[in-house]
């Protein structure tokens, strides 16, 4: 199907912007007339939402201590305190 030149389908970048609520109003209007783009955009929004909501995991307790045991803290003179 040939796209109307004045109202082309949304690009992947535009779909990402729409999913983030950042797409300009003129391009958002396209979604009202294009079921294909609307379906793609809604799928994209769900995926991005799922990704953003992924939990952050933490290392085991004492991680900072284990790291700091190997870190050489510089002194103001430029050498290392340990």
């Amino acid at each position: 199907m040939v796209e109307p030149l004045r109202n082309p389908h949304l690009t992947p970048d535009e779909i990402e912007l729409w999913a983030q609520g950042l797409l300009g109003a003129a391009r958002v209007m396209h979604l009202a007339d294009c079921g294909e783009c609307l379906t793609a955009a809604e799928r994209e929004r769900k995926l991005l939402r799922d990704l953003v909501q992924l939990p952050r995991f933490g290392p085991e307790f004492g991680f900072a201590e284990r790291v700091m045991a190997h870190v050489r803290v510089p002194t103001p003179s430029g050498d290392f305190g340990r």
């Binding site: 992947p12 995926l47 799922d50 290392p59 991680f63 900072a64 790291v67 700091m68 190997h70």
Partner: protein
């Protein structure tokens, strides 16, 4: 987590902090920018190092864990990342975001590990412990085909959801880009710097990664 050397927003003298002039002494580590904390760390203020660990231990560990899908290994690689970053703090260039620098090193550690693992698989036609042709075949399929490796009980609970399993099926380059963009919220330009990839390649990887995720997840939902 409370830091014992920070009391009421003022750092106590710990021998190293005391070497810093009073006008430069960190007043509020938790509220300072990364750049400021790094400057204090460069001056030898130990609580500043700990503050950088506190800020980034979860995001760095999460990224590495999702890349390698092995908790103990992820902890080793995250620790290696922090040691490298903190011991090299004086080489940090402030024109880049600190987060970009640490994620770059963390991602390199994870990718290097995955490449080494793949080489082991290919060169030995199976895992090192494989003795019989059946074992060789089983382990080379397990590690060499881009499929998920078995998870232990904790990892299965943490990484067993459909979306986590879909992420695991992405090739590592796509996975890193997707995680940095959509989980950590970095811009395309920052990811390009972090991964030493052209901007167009980053965009391509992210678009392909999202397409693959959608396909995997649609297969699950059908």
């Amino acid at each position: 987590m409370a830091w014992p050397t920070t009391v009421g927003g003022e750092c106590t003298s710990d021998g190293r902090g005391a070497a810093i002039g009073a006008k430069d002494r960190p007043g509020n580590l938790a509220g300072a920018s990364d750049q400021q904390v790094v400057e204090w760390a460069k001056d030898g203020h130990e609580p500043a190092f700990r503050e950088l660990v506190r800020r980034y231990e979860r995001p760095v560990f999460s990224l590495v864990y999702r890349m390698v899908r092995d908790r103990a290994l992820a902890e080793d690689l995250a620790q290696e990342t922090f040691i490298k970053v903190l011991n090299g703090i004086r080489s940090y260039r402030p024109e880049f975001k600190f987060s970009s620098w640490i994620f770059k090193i963390a991602n390199n550690a994870a990718i290097d590990h995955l490449r080494r693992r793949e080489l082991d698989t290919l060169s030995l036609d199976g895992a090192p412990h494989a003795q019989t042709p059946e074992e060789m075949q089983a382990t080379s399929l397990q590690l060499g085909s881009g499929q998920e490796s078995p998870l232990d009980e904790v990892a299965a609970r943490e990484l067993g959801s459909h979306i986590e399993r879909a992420i695991a099926r992405l090739r590592p380059e796509y996975r890193a880009c997707i995680l940095l963009r959509h989980v950590e919220g970095h811009s395309y330009e920052e990811i390009s710097q972090m991964l030493d990839l052209p901007l167009g390649t980053v965009k391509t990887y992210i678009h392909r990664g999202r397409n693959e995720l959608r396909v995997y997840l649609e297969g699950v939902n059908e």
